[in-house]
């Protein structure tokens, strides 16, 4: 995956570049809005990481300019402004995701990978399959080894999101934002309890656990092969 980092703080940029490369991705850095705009428009990237406050041209303006010229590369907005309205503004300006500084790298990586996946055209699939677990998006039925699993609506949506990002780490904040539409920190780890409930339903009576906890990052669903 090729990532463009548009960030004016040299240390942050270098840290992100190094960490992304260590995670097996390739990364380039642009240190201001104009350079970032040029780079993003001239070569192919899978994801853009755009700092909101940049010299020469601010991050949101860069994204808007790119969208206007037909570049649809998914963009993650990074910003020190983390209030709900700042977030809404960032997403409205064409950002695909928004992450407030300071952030954990695992959170950033999970979001960048989710964005890259979103860009690939398998979005409209009507069935998610992970190993012997099947989620039918048309009938809202979930089966494992042909055995029907009764899920609550919210559990279904949780599983749907996890399976959509099968093989990728999904953080607690991502779940909270995408499954519950909550953009705040609920203090207690409420998500963990929901996950363990879901796990009890889909993994308990089967030998291979599919829903894994990724320490220090979040959760991942996969059959261990991917």
């Amino acid at each position: 995956m090729r990532v463009l980092i548009i960030e004016d703080d040299a240390k942050t940029a270098a840290y992100l570049e190094k960490a992304l490369k260590e995670s097996g991705h390739s990364a380039e850095v642009a240190s201001d809005g104009e350079a970032g705009l040029d780079a993003a428009a001239s070569s192919e990237f899978d994801v853009l990481i755009v700092d909101r406050m940049l010299p020469k041209q601010n991050g949101l303006a860069v994204i808007q300019a790119l969208r206007k010229s037909g570049v649809q590369t998914p963009a993650l907005v990074l910003s020190a402004l983390g209030a709900v309205d700042d977030r809404v503004q960032g997403l409205r300006a064409g950002g695909d995701d928004y992450l407030a500084k300071p952030f954990a790298f695992s959170e950033l990586l999970a979001r960048v990978e989710a964005l890259a996946r979103r860009a690939s055209p398998e979005e409209s699939t009507s069935r998610y399959v992970v190993g012997d677990l099947v989620l039918d998006r048309l009938t809202h039925k979930v089966t494992r080894k042909g055995e029907s699993l009764p899920l609550q609506p919210r559990e279904y949506r949780l599983l749907e999101y996890l399976m959509k990002h099968a093989g990728q780490v999904v953080t607690r904040t991502m779940l909270l934002e995408n499954v519950w539409d909550y953009h705040f920190d609920p203090q207690t780890n409420v998500i963990d309890v929901h996950i363990s409930r879901l796990r009890a339903k889909i993994d308990k009576n089967f030998e291979t656990p599919l829903l894994q906890t990724v320490r220090g990052a979040g959760y991942m669903i996969g059959d261990g092969v991917a």
């Binding site: 983390g82 709900v84 309205d85 407030a100 300071p102 954990a104 909550y182 920190d185 203090q187 409420v190």
Partner: protein, 489 residues
């Protein structure tokens, strides 16, 4: 600037001057119109009287010639009045009539003329004005018939002086009233200025005195007081935040530093370092969380964030939040029950209200569990309409908070002794209070016998919703929704 100069520059005074000018002009126009009309009327009367006299005399002359004419003139001259008569021979000698002399101009004139004449009266002679018609008869005789118009002149003079006096009175009273009102206004404004100066100098202590009249100045004063309140609150908030940052953020920072230092000093293997680093990151995350919460609260309290969100159903938000926390509650051996009649839609930030409810549920789970007896292991979330406000009550059966400590519990960073061992920043309730205030409501803590009941209210914001409070819209909604929603485990 001197007081008198200020007075002349008040709006009240300037308005008075303007009114004086307008009323003066209008009055003058009315008087002029009346004067002109009256003059025309009187002139026309004089003309017709003279004409009638002439006609009468002409008849007499036609019937009885000069002799009959002079006889009639003699009769008419004898009756007192304003009519003037003179019959002269060809040498301008007076034959008969109450006019004594005839001037050469009059003698030579033809038709109607206005002229001055003297007549006895008041012990001597007086000069008067008259209008006469001169008619030439056969044989060089001339007949002069006219009317004294001195009264018309006096009437004109009367109107002129009335107009003059009237306008003068208007001007004097106008300016006087203007000065008086301006002075009064100026005094009250000066008073306000002086008082607010004093308040600012004293560091927002004291308020402007209201006279309770509810007039515009009083309302201005009330507004000023409101502003002072707000400024004071903001200043106090700023002080509190800086104090709290100093205290509550420095402590964990210090802990963080100590831990890193200790790891360095003690040395050890890679696993030891790894553990220390992990702890450091965790501590850092906790700090970030506290910092975010603080910023969020400060942001809301500074009023930088306006309630601009869309309308939403509070019941649905409450149900969602309860659903999010329900597994955690269950893990603590508690249940969450949501009850509530349908309420009017709320305009505001859904995220903030959800966060407030989440915080309260979180507290209820943290503090509600240990003291619960086996029968009352429930957390109740109730939503009710209270006039224009919607109240969200979250009650637990935990240890509760003593009445004396309730006010303190709402303060930022306050963690009552009983809760020191629990995780948390101590900002939960402050955030709830800030959210409620942002939405025009408030927070109160009550006794749940046993336990704590936190009631926070939000305002229905838009007035349309207030008006339709009892209207069909709400009634229609009731049919759609279950009167009692229940999420029970």
């Amino acid at each position: 600037m001197t007081v008198s100069l200020k007075l002349l520059r008040t709006t009240a005074f300037r308005l008075s001057l303007l009114y004086v000018a307008i009323f003066g002009a209008a009055g003058a126009a009315v008087i002029a119109y009346t004067y002109w009309n009256a003059q025309t009327l009187v002139s026309r009367q004089i003309d017709s009287t003279i004409e009638a006299e002439l006609r009468g005399l002409a008849e007499q002359y036609a019937v009885g010639g000069l002799q009959r004419l002079s006889q009639t003139i003699a009769e008419r001259s004898a009756t007192p009045g304003n009519s003037l008569y003179l019959l002269t021979d060809e040498k301008a000698g007076r034959v008969v009539g109450n006019l004594r002399t005839v001037s050469p101009e009059l003698w030579n004139a033809l038709g109607q003329v206005e002229f001055a004449y003297r007549r006895p009266g008041g012990g001597g002679f007086e000069d008067r004005m008259a209008i006469v018609s001169v008619v030439r008869l056969q044989g060089g005789f001339r007949l002069i018939v006219g009317r004294d118009v001195e009264e018309r002149r006096e009437f004109a003079g009367l109107i002129r002086s009335a107009a003059l006096w009237g306008l003068a009175t208007l001007l004097i009273t106008g300016v006087g009233v203007g000065l008086f009102v301006g002075r009064r206004l100026l005094q009250r404004i000066e008073n306000l200025t002086r008082q607010s100066h004093g308040i600012m100098a004293a560091g927002m202590i004291g308020r402007v005195a209201l006279d309770g009249s509810g007039d515009e100045i009083d309302r201005l004063a009330a507004n000023l007081n409101g502003m002072f309140d707000r400024i004071e609150r903001l200043m106090q908030g700023l002080r509190e935040v800086s104090d709290n940052i100093a205290h509550d953020l420095k402590t964990p920072l210090n802990r963080l530093r100590n831990r890193a230092e200790a790891a360095l000093r003690e040395g050890g293997n890679a696993q030891h370092y790894e553990e220390a680093l992990r702890d450091t990151i965790e501590e850092g995350d906790e700090l970030i969380r506290t910092f975010d919460a603080l910023l969020n609260i400060a942001h809301m309290e500074a009023g930088a964030r306006s309630v601009s969100g869309a309308e939403f159903d509070l019941c649905a938000v409450a149900r969602d939040a309860a659903e999010l926390y329900e597994p955690v509650a269950e893990a603590h051996g508690l249940s969450i029950t949501v009850t509530g009649a349908p309420v009017m839609p709320i305009t505001g930030e859904r995220q903030l209200i959800a966060q407030a409810i989440a915080n309260l549920l979180d507290n209820a789970i943290k503090y509600g569990a240990p003291h619960a007896s086996s029968e009352t292991r429930g957390i109740a979330l109730d939503i009710a309409q209270q006039g224009p406000k919607v109240e969200i009550a979250i009650s637990d059966h935990g240890a509760g908070i003593a009445p004396g400590q309730r006010g303190k519990a709402l303060e930022r960073f306050v963690r009552l002794e009983a809760s020191r061992s629990k995780p948390g920043s101590g900002l939960g309730l402050s955030l709830v209070a800030a959210v409620a205030r942002l939405h025009g409501g408030d927070v109160r803590l009550e006794d749940n016998n046993p336990g704590l009941k936190v009631v926070f209210s939000v305002c229905g914001v838009n007035t349309d919703a207030e008006q339709s409070q009892n209207s069909e819209a709400i009634i229609a909604k009731e049919h759609e929704m279950n009167p009692a929603i229940s999420v029970t485990t």
